[in-house]
Symmetry: C2
Subunit: 461 residues, 2 copies
C-alpha cells in the first residue's frame, strides 16, 4: 500500500498552460519532404513560397469589352458627341501577341486576355452600342472613358519574388491554387508525425477491425471494448498525424515500459490511454516517474488531472540522457529546457486518462498541440475565444474544468451551452460537443450569461 | 455578335438561396457501403447505429477506492464512531466475477472494475484510513457513506438498442470511439462522390504535377497556369469527395459538351471552371442553355453571377429525359421538381467562374452543398451566423456580395473583418479568408459595427 501513497505524493501539479508549454518545447518540427501540389493539402509549408513571376504576368483585361486607343480628351468628351471606333481585332484569352492598337480603333477583348499595346482603356460591352457599316463593325461609346480602366497591370496582384505562402501555414485548397498560380509544382512540407497509440488495462478487449461487423455479445463480464484506441487514431489523423494503433498491453510496469520503448523507436510520439491514476495497477503512473524524464504527472484540471507526460530515453532503461533534466521529485523543476532536440535521444510519451471523456479532453488540450508542433505548426489551437454561458453551471470545482459544450452564434454573440450529463467516464455526449468550455477553478458556480473561455473543436458544425 | 446578346437575354437570375435549393433537390444520396471503424472517419453514417449492449454492461466502479457492504444505518452514523472494515478482496479492472461481498467487509476496487454483488457503495481512497492488524488490512471510514455512491449502474450511459449515432452524421474521432464502444466493428456509410473537374479556356496551361518542381518561366505570353483545377481538387477532397481533375479543354462548345458527357459517365458530379460568362468564347454558357436541363445560369450575387448549373442527359445529346423539365427560357420556371432521381439518367454539371476568387466563392456556396448532399449530409453548411463588421464596406452593390473576410471573437462577440483588395480575379487573399461576409444588395454601403450574415470557411483558424 506504500507504493500508491508514494506515487500520489510525488505528483506536483502544473496548470494547463504550463503543461502545454512544456510539451511544445520538446516538440521541434520533424524533417521535411517535397510533395507535388496534388498531395499538398493539409500539409504544413516548411518554406516560404515565392512567386516565380508577377501576377498578372502580362497586361490583362478584367472584363469582356473593347480595348480602345483614345487620348484623354477623346475619351472624356464633356457632353460632346462621343467617338465611334472601328473594331479591328478580336482578342480572346490565350491569344498570343495581339497587334498594337492604332489610334481611334478598338479591339474586342475577353476577360483574362492580353491587352494590346497602345490600348488606353477597356470599355465594358454594356457601355457600347455596336453597329455594322459595310463589312465592318463599329462601336459607339455610351459613356466617358476613364484612362486605364479595367486594365490589370503587370504585378498588380503580386510581384516576382513576393512570399505568397509563409512557412508554417497549413495548406488549404486555396493555398494549393496559389502555389500553382505562383509557378510551383511542388512544395517542401514537414513530415507527418507517426503517432503510436497504446491502450493499457486488463479490462480491455481489442476490437479487431478485421473481424465481423458486430462484437461478440458473450464477452466476459468485467471487460470492455477498447474504444479509446479507435478514437485516438481518428483524432491523430484529423490533426495531420499518421496513427499506428499498437493495441492493448497489460497492467505490468516493466512490460509497459519495454513495449512503449519499442513503439517509440518506430514513431515520433507515443500516446497512451489508461493507467495514469493513483492505483497500484496504474502502471503508467509508475513508468512516468521511474522511467521517463518527467514533464508533469498532474495537471490542475477536471477531467483528466492525472494526465502525464515524460521523455522516454530511447537507449538504456532509466537513462535520462541530459543530466540537466531532473527526474520528477516533489516540488522540483524538471523542465527539459537544456535539451536542444530531445527527439534524437528521447521520445515524448503522453499519458492520457482511460476514461473516454477525459481522454478526449486530454487529446484536444495536449496531444493535438504536440502533433501540430511536430509538423511545424505549433499553434493549431485557435486564438483564445470567449462566449456567454447559455446555462448556469451550478457545481463549482477547486480546479479549472473543461466541459463539453455546444457553440452557437446568436445575433453576433457567441453562446456556449454546456452539454448535460457529460462526465469524464462517458463518451456518448462527446460527438455532440463543438467546444470545450473552460470554467476557472475556485469552487464558485458559473452563472448564466457569464463570459467564459472556450476552445472550439473543429469550429461550428 | 448576335450570339452574345442572345446568350445574355435568356439569363433569368435566381437568388443564392434558390440556386442552393435547386441544386440540393437534384443531389440525392449515392449508394452505401460498409467500412471498418478504422476507415470510417469523415464518412457520413447511412444508418442509425444502435447499442448492442447497455453501457455500462456491468455495475462498474467510478473511482479507485473500496467497495463496502454496509446498511444505511451503518454508513450514516450521525456522529457515532464510524465502522472499521476488513478488506477481503482486491478487484482490478478486468477481474472477472468478483466474489459477493459479506456484510461488514470491504474490497479494494479500481476505477472501471466490476462491483461485487451485495456492495452497497464505493468509498474513495481519500475517504479512508488504512491500517493493518495481524496479517489483515482494515479501513476506517472518515466520512458518512452515501448508499450507491460511485457505482455506475448497468445502462446508466445508454441502454441496449438506443441510437448512438444517427443516420446523416459525419463521423468524427469521438463517433468512432462510440461506434466501437457500442459493439460495432463496421458501419454503413454513403459512398464518397466522385467529382470530375474540368477547366475551360484557351489561355490555360496544365501544371503537369509529374513534371519538375518549378514551372517553365518561358511560357507563352497571354497564357496562365491552370490553378483553379488544383484548388478545386483540394476543396473537393476537403468536403469528402474524390476529385478527378480532367485537365483543360478548349473553347469549343460541341467538344466541351461531349467531353463533359464522357466525364459525367464516370463521375457523380461535374464541376467546370471558366467560360460561363457572356462572351462568345464562353462556351459553357452555350452548353448550359443548349445541352442541359438548366437549373440556373445567373445568380444574384457578386462575385460569380454567371455561375450556372444544369442536368446533362447521359444518353442522347439534347435529350432532357423527363419532359416536365423545361429548358431554360427567359422568365420561365425550370425546376426539376418531378425528376425523382435525376442521377440515373442525368448528371449535375456545375459551372463556376474562371476567376479564382469567384470560383472559390462559388465552390463554397454551391459545390460544397452538392458534395455534402450526395453523401447524405446536405447541411454541411453551418447554421446562419451573424457577426459585426469591424470595418465599413463603402462600395454598395445592387446585388448581394460575398466578401472574403476574417472572423474573430472579441469578448463574446463575433467580428468579421473584410479583407482588403479581395477581388474576384484575385486569389492571393483567399487563403487568408476564414469566412465569407454576406452584404445584402440594394446599393447601400455597410457601416462599421453593422450586423452581417457570415459563412464560416472551416471555422476559426
Amino acid at each position: 500500500m506504500i507504493t500508491r501513497r508514494k506515487a500520489r505524493r510525488v505528483r506536483s501539479g502544473v496548470s494547463v498552460a504550463e503543461a502545454q508549454q512544456r510539451l511544445i518545447e520538446t516538440c521541434l518540427p520533424l524533417g521535411t519532404e517535397y510533395v507535388a501540389f496534388v498531395e499538398a493539402a493539409d500539409r504544413v509549408a516548411a518554406e516560404d513560397v515565392m512567386a516565380m513571376f508577377p501576377m498578372p504576368r502580362f497586361e490583362r483585361s478584367g472584363v469582356d469589352g473593347y480595348a480602345v486607343n483614345l487620348s484623354v480628351e477623346e475619351g472624356i468628351t464633356a457632353g460632346k458627341t462621343r467617338p465611334c471606333l472601328v473594331v479591328t481585332e478580336d482578342i480572346s484569352a490565350g491569344s498570343n501577341f495581339p497587334r498594337p492598337l492604332d489610334p481611334g480603333t478598338a479591339a474586342r477583348i475577353m476577360t483574362g486576355a492580353e491587352v494590346p499595346e497602345r490600348a488606353t482603356s477597356i470599355v465594358m460591352l454594356e457601355e457600347t452600342d455596336e453597329y455594322t457599316k459595310g463589312n465592318r463593325l463599329y462601336i459607339q461609346l455610351k459613356h466617358d472613358v476613364i484612362p486605364g480602366r479595367h486594365i490589370a497591370r503587370i504585378g498588380e496582384e503580386w510581384e516576382r519574388g513576393e512570399v505568397l505562402i509563409p512557412q508554417g501555414r497549413r495548406l488549404g485548397g486555396s493555398d494549393i491554387g496559389l502555389l500553382v498560380a505562383a509557378g510551383h509544382r511542388r512544395i517542401r512540407v514537414y513530415r507527418k508525425p507517426r503517432v503510436g497509440i497504446i491502450s493499457i488495462g486488463n479490462e480491455l478487449l481489442h476490437p479487431r477491425p478485421d473481424a465481423g461487423g458486430k462484437m461478440d455479445e458473450a464477452m466476459p463480464a468485467g471487460m470492455i471494448h477498447n474504444s479509446n484506441g479507435a478514437m485516438l487514431a481518428a483524432l491523430v489523423r484529423q490533426y495531420g498525424g499518421i496513427p499506428y494503433d499498437y493495441g492493448i498491453i497489460e497492467d505490468d510496469a516493466y512490460k509497459a515500459r519495454d513495449f512503449i520503448r519499442s513503439v517509440a523507436l518506430k514513431t515520433d510520439l507515443v500516446i497512451t490511454t489508461g493507467a495514469v491514476s493513483v492505483g497500484e495497477r496504474d502502471v503508467m503512473a509508475e513508468v512516468f516517474v521511474r522511467d521517463t524524464c518527467l514533464l508533469f504527472n498532474k495537471v490542475f484540471m477536471r477531467p483528466g488531472s492525472p494526465t502525464s507526460a515524460g521523455l522516454l530515453p530511447l537507449t538504456a532503461p532509466g537513462d535520462c540522457g541530459d543530466k540537466h533534466i531532473e527526474s520528477g521529485e516533489e516540488g522540483e523543476e524538471h523542465r527539459p529546457g537544456l535539451l536542444l532536440n530531445p527527439h534524437s535521444t528521447h521520445r515524448l510519451v503522453l499519458g492520457l486518462s482511460g476514461n473516454p471523456g477525459a481522454c478526449f479532453v486530454g487529446f484536444e488540450l495536449f496531444a493535438s498541440l504536440c502533433i501540430g508542433a511536430l509538423q511545424g505548426a505549433p499553434f493549431t489551437k485557435k486564438d483564445a475565444l470567449h462566449a456567454f454561458l447559455s446555462e448556469p453551471v451550478l457545481k463549482g470545482s477547486p480546479h479549472p474544468r473543461y466541459l463539453q459544450g455546444k457553440l452557437r452564434g446568436d445575433a453576433g454573440m457567441l453562446l456556449a451551452e454546456p452539454l448535460p450529463h457529460a462526465r469524464s467516464s462517458m463518451m456518448r455526449s462527446v460527438p455532440e460537443a463543438t467546444c470545450l468550455i473552460v470554467l476557472p477553478g475556485g469552487g464558485k458556480p458559473a452563472l448564466k450569461g457569464a463570459l467564459v473561455e472556450i476552445i472550439p473543436l473543429g469550429g461550428f458544425r
